[in-house]
Symmetry: C2
Subunit: 392 residues, 2 copies
């Protein structure tokens, strides 16, 4: 059993109409001039942005707005946001949206609070010494960025996608109204459920020992999302199912499901990052597309965990050898992904990758993890390429 640190200071305000509390929450955390950062037009179309600005107007809180955060959010917009904040003396960032808007806001926060090029942090050159406070109104359950310490930014030049983590960027508050996720396309909902499950599975499949309590929490969370993802496929307006998935999304990535583990595996995420960098695919779908190939490549090195997962999460019958049970768990996971219209390989993801593409991704992925990475099984560039090739 390892030691661990656990720090989740984000104040969560969860339930219907909770966005009406945004002004008092900004004030509680000292915001006087706000940059409202959002993504595409849905926040405008649904009237959410107007509701937020009306609330701030009524409370007498000054704000400016910056839209345009895209999936795999771009460094260019981060630079633009930093300049805007400095010019307008912004002291609080309000992200309205999903992971893209939140991650982009965190990067802007680093850029305002630290001298020099913000990309340095994402390029592992130095550590941030602070971050402008960030608050969140969440409209998409997926990345868990609303409580996490991490953000992922893509540098357009070379499509380099990198993550940076620091407690400074953990949001001060997260407003979570499950109703705000009801207008999502079904595909995005399924991508989100996949991402949530993968955040937990990355922490679960390790070779370094695990706490029983953490396993119980992780398995319970996985069962909950698995069940409610199917409910939402058939009934996208189901409030309770939206709520289950939304809260699971936060707990899957705030650190809770990894306490006492060895840090997790994370290679499915790393493999997908290169995919997302090169092809600009939806993150959750990209994870589903490579997970099966990763799992088949590593499961023999991490057999007790794959067996436990098969039995407790995928509810595979406890008969046959450990390897057979583990493989059935992998197959059941792929069946589940297909059942919610997620891909289980690159072809189903809609990507026609050449072998040169795969080699390039494996090379970039290996560089990104400093040569080798993973816990369930340590992977080098050759192993990464083998997994990419198996996932075509």
């Amino acid at each position: 059993m390892f030691g661990f640190n656990y720090y989740t200071p984000t104040k969560v305000v969860f339930g219907k109409n909770t966005e009406s509390k945004v002004a008092e929450l900004i004030r509680e955390f000292g915001g006087t001039k706000v940059l409202i950062h959002y993504g595409g037009g849905s926040v405008v179309r649904t009237g959410l942005l107007k509701k937020v600005t009306d609330t701030l107007d009524a409370a007498g809180i000054n704000y400016i707005t910056l839209g345009g955060a895209v999936p795999n959010p771009h460094l260019g917009l981060v630079y633009e946001g930093i300049e805007l904040c400095k010019k307008e003396n912004v002291d609080f960032l309000l992200a309205v949206g999903g992971g893209s808007a939140i991650d982009s806001a965190k990067a802007i926060g680093y850029g305002v609070a630290n001298e020099g090029d913000v990309w340095d942090f994402y390029d592992y050159k130095r550590q941030a010494q602070g971050c402008l406070p960030v608050g969140v109104i969440l409209t998409l359950s997926a990345t868990g960025s609303e409580m996490s310490d991490s953000s992922v930014i893509t540098k357009e030049d070379g499509l380099v996608k990198r993550g940076y983590s620091s407690n400074y960027s953990r949001p001060k508050f997260a407003i979570m109204n499950p109703e705000l996720t009801m207008t999502l396309p079904d595909y995005q909902t399924a991508c989100g459920c996949t991402d949530i499950m993968m955040h937990t599975m990355e922490r679960y499949f390790t070779s370094g020992g695990n706490m029983e309590l953490t396993d119980e929490l992780a398995e319970g969370l996985l069962r909950t999302v698995k069940k409610n993802a199917v409910i939402l496929r058939d009934d996208p307006k189901n409030y309770d199912a939206r709520a289950e998935v939304m809260w699971a999304g936060s707990l899957a990535h705030n650190g809770l499901t990894g306490c006492g583990n060895d840090g997790g595996d994370w290679m499915t995420h790393k493999l997908e990052h290169e995919l997302g960098g090169l092809f600009d695919v939806a993150h959750g779908a990209g994870l589903a597309a490579v997970w099966g190939s990763w799992a088949r490549y590593v499961y023999k090195n991490c057999l007790p965990r794959f067996k436990k997962y098969a039995l407790n999460v995928m509810e595979v019958a406890n008969t046959g050898t450990d390897e057979e049970i583990a493989l059935k768990g992998i197959e059941a996971t792929e069946d589940f992904y297909r059942s919610i219209n997620m891909p289980t390989n690159l072809r189903e993801l809609g990507i026609k990758a050449t072998d040169e593409d795969l080699k390039l991704m494996a090379k970039k992925c290996a560089v990104g993890v400093g040569g080798k990475g993973g816990s369930a099984r340590v992977l080098d560039e050759e192993a990464m390429l083998a997994i990419y090739r198996a996932s075509v």
Copy 2:
């Protein structure tokens, strides 16, 4: 599905020798003059207090000490602590111990940060507007006070035991080294496990609807503590089991196991509070002694929950009527308590209460909850008396 707030800002530093980080953590949260508050002699005997003061000496952090916090901590010592802090310009409270030292430190923190009599908060007369920052080195897994917003203080005059909750008092950090709990008497360990389970069960047995995810987390936590309590009965020095119980203790009472529920039942705690006020019993043992009588009195009004608990936590076979399954779950819980040498009635607790005692406790309990209380079944004074009488 209800909305909820969730706020757990405590920085948890968990694992072996983590107490060596106390100076840097105090500094991180701005402490310059510390009151080290502890309970009985065990903190002195084990050398922990000296280790802490040596660490602060080496770091050049000023401190004073105040021992003497007792189970069901007394208001008199709180007043003494407040005077001491004001006189010595203390700006940080370090509780070294279990719930008694932490709760007492929180009360001192309220008293220093607010004008007037600190008992007013515990007597429901007014709300605190702040609290001196509190840090914790935990030596007993039980109350969860190391991450919770609550503290319980006993006023010696009339033995009035009252709790007060506010986010201001949530500790800034909690140092949790499972090894520090290894010197506990077995009885205290078992009392702690009972308290931890009860914090989760109080949130679980409600009539107002529950989130599936919260149920999964609660049931997983209960299974973990139930299993590891038995391991610790036979092997008190088992580090892993100590770690499982210690982390479960924090998660059982920081709010996580109640998210989306209706606030919980809490009547077992209220019934025990009067018991503890009158007879000065160990809190965990007092809970075990009244829970069975409470459960039998209320289970028909909350049958789906008692059935679910029986199946998922106590692993009762799914045969017979719902009532039969629920009753088997209650019996299995009492069997479990007995297996770790916890009492299941007042006699086993070592208390010979007269019917006048029971009437007095029922009356005080009813006053304490404003006449009626509970969620699984709403109880009035008559119901409370019936439960006390059944528990003799």
